[in-house]
Amino acid sequence: MAEALQRLDAHRLAGSGRSQIAWLALVAVPALAIFSGLVFVLLPAFGYFPALGGTSLSLQPWRDLIAYPGLASAARATVISAFVAMPIALGLAMLMLAWIAPSSTVRTGFPLIAARFLSWLLATPHAAFALGLAFLVAPSGWLVRIAALVLPVDTPPDLLIPRDPWGLSLAAGLVLKEMPFLFFAGLTALSQLDAPRMLSLGAGLGYQPGLAWFKLIAPRLYALIRLPVYAALAYALSAVDMALVLGPATPPTLAVLAVDLTHDPDLARRFPAAALALLHLLLTLSALGTWRVLEIVIARALRPMLADGVRAPAPAVRWSMHVGRALALASIVLGALAILSLPLWSLAAVWRFPDAVPDCCSLAAWRRALPELWLPLRDSLTIAFTVTLLALIGAVAWLQLERDLSHRMRQGGRAVAMLPLIVSDVAFLMGVQILLLGLGFGGGWLPTALSHALFAFPYVLLALADPWNRLDPRYERSALCLGASPWRVLLRVRLPLLMPALAFAAALGCAVSLSLYLPTVLMGGGRIATLATEAIALSSGGDRRIVGVYGTTQALVIWTGFFVAYWVGRRAARPALA
């Protein structure tokens, strides 16, 4: 045994040089993609891109951009929607955590039901969710129809909802969608905090449980979920699919405006588009910087509360906690209704205003949509499976290679992998698109799949990393001592033992790919239609039944993936027959 372990160490030492190079090559992929994307947005933003006729540096793109009508209100709506949505989403997520899962285990009964609903909201793609929410809150939407049961409403109220010019409907959509994301990010992080003992200690010192949670757990939890919070903020600023459905129309948000400019057949418009993309990058960076400053200021202001010895919350605080809980519940209910309104519309035969439910049921919309639904479904799935395979292989290789590295190198590598979620995707994807254009590629299937992989990879890596590191190392050691080669150990011991995690990571990879809108639009060159892009494109047409069909299909495919993963995980968790 000792001899075999020595052999293993010698093998590792000999292999570590090569494995470091292989690992660096993996890290280089996202780094290079983002770097080249940013370079090729920076150059055309200042007028230089010979392939498109820009041969000298100039400020003309910026002059064109500033002359663009509505730029200022587009920026305003972008910033307002993100900075209204994020604090609310974060606050509600924290309240929900303190309420239903204070020590990371979700108890049965109400907490379990609430957590199930939240995971369902999380697993619903942004595009479908936004469409459902639009159906729900529109003047002739389901909410008004439900209200009409008790109130005298016979015509739809005259309200500019969704798509209000301030971006508040978009903010509402972002809150409903980011709250579950932050909740589960927090729930995962909570398990690292020894919360049960901390809370019992707090109770032992006389602290009311809710207050103990906010004094002992929340500050450390926030430090652990900072990255997901930043990713959510970056997403809020760059969401195109949600903004097309819920955000203001003319002018739209900055991200939508940038995409509009790239659709202009006049290629000279790429120069102001690049300037706009660069502006979006700067806006994202300054938003993240502002958020960081707010973090510091708020932490400073709240710190004395830790030491004031107060054991129970003041009545005002307690009262606002109740309001917060009610809001969190309401947002879950709203989210659930939004999702349900998709299949409901797709099956509605006749749904006159202000009836609360349609005359059920008709498959006419499904029959009408199916012939055209088939193609985007096929393309979405092909791309999603390719992307997931790439991301899984990449993540397994990454985790296997980083084992011999120092902690700092690992952290650095992980940070690079997360970059696509933080850096403005509008900016670097537009750069990659301009680069491809300059090289003579108009975009298509392969660039789309590769760009999807860039976004799916960090999620797959994060989902695998924890189970990977938690696996008892003695399994592999004993297999090696039985004479199995490292490859065999990986394939026959480690991966089978991690099957539940692999299945979940695969479902997550598929879900990310199936949800992506912007990369498909920018990298597909107009030739790739997925369920996400079709659903959004159809939404402007106004046929709610067909939109309902596409939204339902997009969501159903993703839910099926998670369900299969759950089923595989349960089967794999059963002990194999000896």
């Binding site: 108890r107 020894d194 049960p196 003992r197 901390m198 809370l199 019992s200 200690l201 707090g202 109770a203 032992g204 010192l205 006389g206 602290y207 009311q208 449980p209 103990a212 004094k215 002992l216 500050p219 450390r220 430090a223 004395p304 830790l306 030491a307 004031d308 010895g309 107060v310 054991r311």
Partner: protein, 215 residues
């Protein structure tokens, strides 16, 4: 006085140990001994009101003649010291102690009490230190101070000495017993030395048998 009456912990209907009764008076610590898995920690978890799901406790617990079972964990005022010091890593030493101190009257008074308490255990000027930079013995003393400053009505000790090395262990043990002469102290341990140092009654926890009173 802390009194346990016919206390038992059940897991899926089976009791972990035979019903336990004892009276703990200030200055006469009671030690409960038992091998690991005997239910010592579950017993303390139940006393403090944080028994995990799947376990159920029965019997009664009285503080000065009044049952505490109907009170939620944070109103029982049973201070507990664990094997690990569990200093809150996001607070300074002083903030950890202030967290234990009841609220009021004002910042300077609080600060003064904390500095005095630290000086009393030979840790003068430690208030602004990060708990991570303290040695094991120093951290243990801060954890003890935090509990004592919270003015508990009884002190529960969950093997708080077992992770300290031998010399530290003796010093910290005597510090604990000296600092709480006014409190009922209940200690669970598997180290016979603890019971000797505690000096009071010793009960042995045995699965489904009568508890033998060693002394």
């Amino acid at each position: 006085m802390l009194e346990l009456r016919d206390v038992a912990i059940r897991r899926q209907g089976e009791t972990l140990f035979a019903p336990l009764s004892c009276q703990v008076r200030p200055g006469r610590p009671v030690t409960i001994m038992g091998p690991s898995g005997a239910g010592k920690s579950s017993l303390l978890a139940w006393l403090t009101g944080v028994l995990p799901a799947g376990l159920a406790g029965e019997g009664d617990v009285l503080l000065d003649g009044v049952s505490v079972l109907s009170l939620p964990a944070h109103r029982r005022r049973l201070g507990i010291l664990f094997q690990d010091d569990l200093l809150f890593p996001h607070m300074s030493v002083g903030e950890n102690l202030a967290f234990g101190l009841p609220p009021g009257p004002d910042r300077n008074t609080r600060r003064g009490r904390i500095d005095q308490a630290l000086a009393d255990v030979e840790l003068p000027g430690f208030a602004n230190r990060d708990p991570m930079t303290l040695s094991g013995g120093e951290r243990a003393r801060v954890a003890l101070l935090r509990v004592l400053l919270s003015e508990p009505r009884a002190l529960l000790l969950d093997e708080p000495f077992s992770k300290l090395d031998l010399t530290l262990r003796d010093r910290f043990r005597s510090l604990v017993f000296q600092s709480a002469p006014h409190l009922p102290v209940l200690l669970v341990s598997h180290d016979p030395q603890d019971s000797v140092a505690a000096g009071g009654d010793v009960l042995e926890l045995r699965p489904n048998e009568r508890h033998t009173r060693i002394r």
